[in-house]
């Protein structure tokens, strides 16, 4: 039914996944001592930056971003500023949630914040791209009948996958295996990343297989 959209979605996701791959491989080529565990914060920031840049570009090019009512420069600028503000607030929100979940408050503050930035760029940024800076719409999307387009369904799936991945990533931390990936926040960021990539694959596939059942209310 939505073959065109599904194809667009699959290629978008392929581009985003490729950017994640490049953001992991390129620094390793350029920098001699780079590794995902060793220079974990660097990896987080490079992946976040890549995902941010690529998602914004792709969604802008595709025109998924909700149409603006006014076309004045001032309105667009305020929207941009609000988006940035939301991005930052979302980082703080994730940081708070992580601390409440049991992350050390002071000791690993920078690591926790980096994880929050990663999660924000994997989840909130997508919301910003698809729905614009509109919290009401975000809350609406995450309900059973809230999705109004294929992209909304896709957003639901990827965000849920990312968060569940990061949540599952916390599980190996208490184990006494003494592996480098058990160090905070490596397992959580890896879990989130794997969840995100899974979501990227799963969303088009799921939508493809359920395209007969999917119905959306017109906006």
């Amino acid at each position: 039914m939505w073959d065109h959209e599904i194809r667009a979605m699959a290629s978008t996701h392929a581009i985003i996944a490729a950017s994640v791959f490049m953001a992991t491989v390129l620094p390793a080529v350029v920098m001699p001592g780079f590794s995902v565990y060793g220079a974990h914060l660097l990896w987080i920031y490079s992946v976040s930056a890549a995902v941010t840049a690529v998602s914004v570009a792709v969604f802008w090019l595709l025109g998924i971003t909700p149409p603006t009512k006014k076309h004045t420069v001032g309105y667009k600028l305020s929207k941009l500023v609000r988006s940035c503000l939301y991005f930052f607030l979302s980082c703080l929100f994730f940081h708070t949630v992580l601390v409440l979940y049991g992350a050390p408050l002071i000791e690993f503050a920078l690591e926790t914040f980096s994880l929050a930035v990663l999660l924000t760029s994997l989840t909130t940024l997508r919301c910003l791209c698809v729905l614009g800076p509109n919290v009401q719409a975000w809350i609406r999307v995450f309900s059973r009948h809230g999705a109004m387009s294929v992209w909304d369904t896709c957003l639901q799936i990827t965000v849920a996958c990312t968060l569940v991945g990061a949540w599952l990533g916390a599980f190996p931390i208490p184990l006494d295996w003494d592996r480098p990936w058990q160090v905070w926040p490596v397992s959580c960021s890896l879990g989130g990343m794997i969840g995100f990539l899974t979501g990227l694959v799963a969303a088009p596939a799921w939508i493809h297989y359920h395209r007969k059942q999917l119905t959306y209310k017109c906006k």
């Binding site: 809350i139 309900s143 208490p174």
Partner: protein, 1137 residues
């Protein structure tokens, strides 16, 4: 709504209440309707209420049987060999049966100074340490003597076997055997040692043993001492009584000549560790005192006397012991004699560590008594001269001779033991036997031929002794797999039964499904059958198997009947078949709350997760708490449905709740989630530390105030604790008052009004008194010690009185008969007349306002109800607080119990208890709000059923606060101090201290289990908020009737109660089952005795305590129900007059 703005009409009789503006809810009960109801289903009320309690009892009993059976098979048992060694035993080399004891021993006398908890770190002396901690460098005498006179005295680390509790250690170093896990529980009721032991051997040889110190010895060796001076050991706070008592008699005894072996057991160091921890000036004082004692004893020693200074175990950094960390096991041993004791200089062959069992054969051979029969220790070789140079010590044995005697004794024990019990693996046994045969032939031949035995023989003998000890240590971890499997099966089936009961509860109660009679009958037959079989085949009855058979048969029969019943129900109403047939499908089982429960159970199978259990549970509770709003939002219930103008208006059913109500409910929900999250996060600050958690710092709130040295910090902690205590009391009263439960004059209200505040005042005073340093107010010392005794006891009495009053008169309903008011209202005398009777104007005002108000309302009522005049003539009753008639006593019960349990905790835990109350409230309100919001969905199942999510939250919160009140599932972390609250001088019996410690340990389990039925009531309690905007759950009813709904639907009430309790029991039981599985699967795991077995014990006892208190809670609810029934009965004839 009238009910919300007439505080004065309620409280005019109680002036002090009227001043505070209360939000009181009242109910108008038209008495013409009530009797009808009563007539309709009084039998139903009685009959359907009955099966709840027996069913729960049966389930609990089945669980307990499963636990009992498994624990019986899992916990280790070692057979005691009741034989004793004698002098005539052929132990000497050579064929002729010489009298072993006739030979003159090396030492005639010995002094054993046992300094309880003398850790090796305390005994070492480091001259380079310029800034020693309070416990360092305080015993210079040991190191001084050892370095200046190395052939006279030496210091070794002395490694105890776990469990490192004093009684087990005394048993260990007198019998030379290895302790088993079961012994841990006997620490409070130490009974006499029946195995052969050193003290017995000394007695046999006519040596006069004089004992002084810890009275545990007296109970272990009754009537074995020549002279005995025991001093009470139980009071951990008392640092000096035992030690001073010993010192009074020690020197005089030593100078005298009426003793051969002198045992002095000092307790001061251990008690100091328990009370203050090792890092405290008091420890320095105590160790310095011990230094002086050792010096004076050394000065008084004679040449034929051996001195042994030893610790029985070590201590952790917090001063506790009982586990098997190196800090706890490594004590010190110092051996000294004025005559040369060690034949050679310290050499390479010095042992690094002396195992505690080795003391027994060494002492026995040095003093010339036979080695106790069941000792598995080996002699300490440096004390014996090498073969061929016996001239150093008179009459002593050479190394090889000593080893030979020792090996022969151990071999004899092994043979006896393997003849009695079959638990040592045969291949190990035959290997050991061969080894011994080989060694003995070699040794005997060399003796016979008169040639010096080969130098390897000594080390071979040593290796043999070591391997025997290791084999014993390994095999006394012996399990009974059959019992374990039986226990597992019973527990698994019990979980299944619980789940099915919870799913079937409605049908079960409504249509009187599979009852209890048949399972109970099956249980009886099964049990008696097995008993008869056992009698016939074995000649005796093993109780465990009979109970197991009973439990298993009743379970199986219940399951079968449930299955039959279900199919019959399905057959009866075919349309409902798919719905009722689907309870056990994966989609139904894999809901997030059950998934969280599954994760929790899975976490019990890994030692890392058990070690980090506190954080793991907090994580899971947090996740589940966050899941609730997300799930509601997913169902589109969190936000009021947006009114789209494009949408066809008639397509959707009109919303049941108005948008403003939805918004209000969601904001309440989110606030409560915030509270939940906040209290979860704060509760992490109250955790204790396991020894496995290396870099962990225990919470500063865990230390009692009396341990704190900084007085400012102490005051701050005290103020915080008192503040949270006050807030606890205030919140409880506030809640009761809010729902109008403080107006009547019954027992419960009396408790809430007076006993609750009095109890908290008692608590605050008690903390103040116990926090004062002992020597700060010298002239008030008497008063302080009296207060320390009286205040907690008064609190216990108040608590008992309060709980009793709640039980006796649980109703909190204030009744005002409207009929009489109306009757008087019509013939109301003019105000002037009333004033003239001498009532003060104020009182008159208080009378007048309600009367005026009554009139106003009467006219309002006339307007509201269509048949105005007719209704008005009816007698009616206003009952205040009827809406919370069930929950109010339960809440108060919980609150009182919480204060009582807080009394048993360190003062700082008041904050944690406050968090517990807040979290309870948060969960209750979250549950209430989400229920109200779910009504919108239309999927509300009807009835009062509590979904899984809040129940799982509730039970996980119990575990979470187990950790957040400073408890850990390890034996050293048990807060023994609780046994001394109100009994600073110790106890005579063991029941009282044991129950106090149990109450302390499982405080959070108790509170959450008692409060469990609140989950059923709270959505009804909160319903009144929804009543403004419209009916809460769409049921027809013109008034907010809150918990009276339960009264109107007794069947649904009892089925919901049954469902809630079985769900709670299922969750607890699943956790027990998981830890039982962990213990069974990982029984050969490295961590089994350190992590899994203690966890199992704690989980199982937590389950038992929880189930008992859950039953108490449910019984209280049923009691209230009975009282409400009586109250209605009494009301009807009253009103109809």
């Amino acid at each position: 709504m009238v009910s919300r703005r007439k505080p004065s009409s309620v409280n005019f009789r109680r002036v002090h209440c009227t001043l505070e503006f209360l939000a009181v809810t009242s109910y108008l009960i038209s008495l013409y309707r009530s009797p009808n109801e009563e007539d309709e289903n009084p039998t139903a009320t009685r009959m359907k209420r009955l099966p709840v309690l027996p069913l729960l009892l049966w389930v609990c009993a089945v669980y307990s049987v499963g636990i009992y059976l498994f624990v019986g098979g899992f916990l280790l048992v070692r057979l005691e060999v009741n034989r004793t060694s004698t002098c005539r035993d052929v132990l000497q080399p050579g064929e002729e049966p010489g009298d072993f004891c006739g030979v003159q021993p090396r030492f005639r006398r010995a002094v054993l100074l046992i300094i309880d908890a003398l850790k090796i770190d305390f005994a070492r002396f480091d001259p380079n340490n310029t800034e020693p901690r309070p416990y360092e460098n305080k015993l210079p005498v040991l190191e001084e003597t050892a370095s200046t006179r190395p052939s006279h005295g030496r210091l070794y680390p002395f490694r105890a076997d776990p469990p490192t509790t004093t009684m087990q250690r005394i048993k260990g170093f007198t019998t030379g055997s290895l302790p088993t896990f079961v012994d841990v529980g006997n620490n409070f009721a130490s009974s006499a040692i029946l195995e052969d032991n050193l003290i017995h051997q000394f007695g046999q040889e006519g040596k006069r043993v004089v004992f002084m110190g810890d009275d545990t010895w007296e109970s272990l060796f009754p009537k074995k001492f020549y002279r005995s001076l025991p001093f009470p050991s139980f009071n951990v706070k008392d640092l000096h009584t035992v030690d001073n008592g010993i010192l009074q008699h020690l020197y005089t005894t030593m100078v005298g000549d009426d003793w051969d072996v002198l045992v002095a057991h000092f307790l001061g160091v251990d008690h100091c560790g328990h009370r203050f921890g090792p890092d405290h000036p008091a420890m320095a004082d105590k160790l310095t005192q011990m230094d002086g004692v050792i010096r004076s004893v050394i000065d008084r020693l004679q040449n034929d006397t051996l001195l042994v200074v030893m610790g029985d175990h070590g201590m952790t950094d917090t001063g506790d012991h009982g586990g098997e960390s190196q800090k706890e096991t490594d004590a010190a041993i110092f051996l000294y004699s004025p005559s040369p004791l060690f034949p050679g200089p310290p050499s390479q062959r010095e042992p690094d560590v002396v195992p505690q069992t080795d003391l027994v054969p060494t002492l026995a051979l040095l003093l010339g008594v036979p080695i106790p029969y069941s000792s598995v220790g080996q002699v300490l070789l440096p004390l014996f001269p090498p073969h061929g140079q016996k001239e150093g010590a008179v009459g002593g044995l050479s190394q090889l001779e000593a080893l030979w005697i020792n090996a022969k004794q151990v071999n004899r024990f092994l043979e006896t033991y393997s003849g009695m019990a079959k638990d040592i693996p045969p291949e190990n046994l035959s290997q050991l036997k061969n080894e011994f045969a080989h060694l003995s032939s070699e040794y005997l031949s060399s003796i016979r031929e008169g040639r010096p035995p080969s130098p390897e023989l000594a080390s071979l003998l040593q290796a043999y002794l070591t391997s025997v000890r290791d084999t014993c240590r390994a095999t006394w971890a012996r399990f009974n797999p059959l019992k374990m499997a039986g226990g597992l099966a019973i527990l698994a089936l019990a979980c299944l039964v619980c789940f099915i009961l919870s799913e079937l509860s409605s049908v079960l109660i409504m249509e009187s499904g599979p009852g209890l009679k048949v399972p109970v009958a099956a249980a009886l037959t099964g049990g008696t059958c097995v008993a008869a079989c056992q009698l016939l085949t074995q000649g005796y009855i093993e109780l465990a198997w009979c109970v197991a058979a009973a439990a298993l048969s009743s379970e199986l029969l219940f399951l079968r009947r449930a299955h039959q019943f279900r199919t019959s129900v399905v057959a009866k109403n075919g349309t409902k078949a798919p719905k009722s047939a689907s309870w056990l499908t994966p989609s139904r089982l894999l809901t997030p709350p059950l998934l969280v429960l599954l994760l929790r159970c899975a976490s019990l199978l890994s030692d890392s997760y058990v070690i980090a259990e506190g954080r793991v549970v907090t994580f899971l509770v947090f996740s589940l708490g966050l899941y609730i709003p997300f799930h509601l939002n997913w169902d589109g219930l969190l936000l009021p449905p947006s009114h789209d103008p494009l949408k066809p208006a008639g397509l959707l059913p009109s919303p049941v709740l108005s948008p403003s109500t939805v918004r209000k409910e969601s904001s309440t929900l989110l606030t409560c989630v915030g509270f939940l999250v906040g209290s979860l996060y704060l509760s992490l600050n109250f955790h204790g530390c396991r020894e496995e958690q290396g870099s962990c710092q225990p919470s500063p709130f865990l230390a009692p105030l009396s341990r704190m040295q900084n007085s400012q910090l102490k005051n701050l902690h005290y103020i915080l604790s008192v503040f949270s205590l006050g807030l606890w009391t205030y919140l409880l009263r506030r809640c009761l008052r809010h729902y109008g439960n403080l107006n009547s004059s019954g027992g419960t209200v009396f408790t809430a009004r007076f006993i609750l505040p009095l109890l908290s005042v008692c608590l605050g005073l008690h903390w103040a008194v116990s926090a004062t340093p002992e020597d700060s107010f010298r002239n008030l010392g008497q008063l302080i010690s009296l207060a320390q005794l009286a205040l907690p006891r008064a609190a216990f009495c108040l608590l008992g009185l309060g709980l009793f009053l709640i039980w006796l008169d649980p109703l909190t309903v204030f009744v005002k008969t409207r009929a009489s008011a109306l009757a008087r209202g019509s013939s109301l005398p003019p105000p002037r007349y009333r004033a003239s009777t001498g009532i003060s104007p104020q009182a008159e005002l208080h009378h007048l306002i309600p009367q005026l108000y009554q009139r106003m309302r009467r006219s309002l009522d006339d307007g509201e109800l269509s048949g105005g005049g007719e209704v008005d003539s009816r007698p009616a009753v206003e009952a205040y607080g009827l809406g919370t008639v069930y929950s109010a006593p339960l809440l108060l019960f919980c609150g009182l119990l919480g204060l009582g349990l807080l009394l048993l905790h360190p003062e700082g835990m008041a904050l944690s208890f406050l968090l517990l109350l807040l979290e309870m409230g948060a969960v209750l309100y979250i549950h209430a709000s989400s229920t109200t919001l779910s009504c919108l969905n239309g999927t509300y199942p009807g009835g009062f059923y509590v979904p899984w999510t809040p129940v799982v939250l509730w039970s996980l919160a119990a575990t979470q606060f187990f950790h957040a009140t400073g408890h850990l599932p390890t034996f050293p972390s048990i807060q023994w101090g609780a046994a001394f609250v109100g009994f600073p001088d110790g106890h005579t019996g063991t029941v009282l201290p044991a129950s106090l410690v149990t109450l302390n340990t499982f405080a959070s389990h108790i509170l959450f289990a008692v409060g469990c039925p609140l989950l059923l009531f709270w959505p009804l309690v909160c319903e009144v908020r929804g009543s403004k905007g419209g009916r809460a759950c769409g049921e027809e009813g013109e008034d907010a009737v809150m918990e009276m709904r339960l009264r109107e639907n007794p069947q649904q009430f009892s089925s919901a109660l049954l469902q809630l309790s079985t769900r709670y029991l299922f969750i607890l039981g699943a956790q027990v089952f998981a830890s039982v599985c962990a213990a069974a699967i990982l029984r050969r795991h490295l961590m089994v005795w350190k992590v899994f077995a203690p966890k199992l014990m704690f989980e199982a006892s937590g389950f038992l305590v929880s189930s008992v208190f859950l039953l108490i809670g449910v019984t209280l609810v049923l009691r209230v129900d009975v009282a409400v029934g009586r109250w209605f009965k009494r009301l009807i004839p009253d009103a109809s007059r």
